[in-house]
Symmetry: C2
Subunit: 205 residues, 2 copies
Amino acid sequence: MTELAELPAVPGAARTQGRPRSSRAHEAILEAVLDLIEEGTTVEALSMEAIAARAGVGKATIYRRWAGKDELLLETLVKLKGPAPQPSGESLRADLIELLSVVGKKDQRAVRVMPCLMPEVSRSPEAYRIWQEAITEPRREVMREVLRRGVASGELRADLDLEVTVSMLISPLLLHRMVRWNPRLDEVDDLVAQVVDVVLRGVAA
Amino acid sequence: MTELAELPAVPGAARTQGRPRSSRAHEAILEAVLDLIEEGTTVEALSMEAIAARAGVGKATIYRRWAGKDELLLETLVKLKGPAPQPSGESLRADLIELLSVVGKKDQRAVRVMPCLMPEVSRSPEAYRIWQEAITEPRREVMREVLRRGVASGELRADLDLEVTVSMLISPLLLHRMVRWNPRLDEVDDLVAQVVDVVLRGVAA
DNA sequence: GGATTCCGATACGGTTCCGTTCCGTATCGC
DNA sequence: GCGATACGGAACGGAACCGTATCGGAATCC
């Protein structure tokens, strides 16, 4: 159980004295937050006591690292989603299918967490901003780039509205994988391909 | 302010004695729930105390009608959404535009409430069932019927997957109007028409 | 070895909410 | 008028959680 050194939050503050903070405790706390949310605790109902208990950690250990619940949740959210995936560039259709296939498939925990974040995101402008910048916008940009190549190659209409097209591609997948908006889609096994094909035909040059 | 007689919960129990329950209080309680949620209170953080205070009602008056918060929220949710809208039947394209245009436009309160319901819906199978039966499924069925007429008239492919098509039409609108998934779509003024046109071209016969 | 800091655990006072119970008053059927 | 019930309001004991403080012990640097 190697205890890794923590990077000081403020670069100038070289804290070398005393026992270093346990990175194990750090990880355990973040994991506890994700676990609890996955188990059905709302973001808002998350209690520091429950987090500490689940992580096997004293409350003071949490407050030593984060000022409050908001800061802790922010770090957890950013950690949850890695960088946006990159398409292989094989073809327009293949790239879109590739990108859409991973929606909600990588980390099952993320799927559970997202709906719990919705109230927060729709209430707090700050949460909305972070969510946009760290989660949704980078992924949209990847898909925009794929579409731009399709326009450049002449496959797609030149006057294509990128935002609308991206939304038409992503939205059905998101809504199904995140909140199971229509349970009947469970039985559609090639949902991604169908969506891509209809949209591509609809916006073909 | 006429005080309407309450229907007894149990049909056999004819309660004629004493002062009847105030339907005004009843309405005030339901309105208070909606108001509080609209103002940013999560479903889960809703307190009976706050509801009573907002409604100008004693807590006992609430507990006299509902066994707990869950029952109260259920009645509120069902009341929130009226029956599904009906299209005028002018044309396939016009009907779809008509149906999609009202998404999130009728009652602004519903738009605010929906994201707050997501955690509940994704956690509780019972909440999911009610939400499906009372809210989403009836609206999907209306749209399916419009598409069936399009298939019958030969405008649409005969082997059309209704569920996928409905999802492709509704999802971009829902995601934008409900949680503003992509803020750049704010500036697209004919979003509904664009979505409808792309899908119709994509699934044309 | 000594100083320092972090560790998990526990306790604290304060706040909020729960669901119930009791007021004194108001409104109904008879 | 009288009995029955609902009303708004206030108070209750109990529970959960907040953020802080303090404990004895452990880990690290000098």
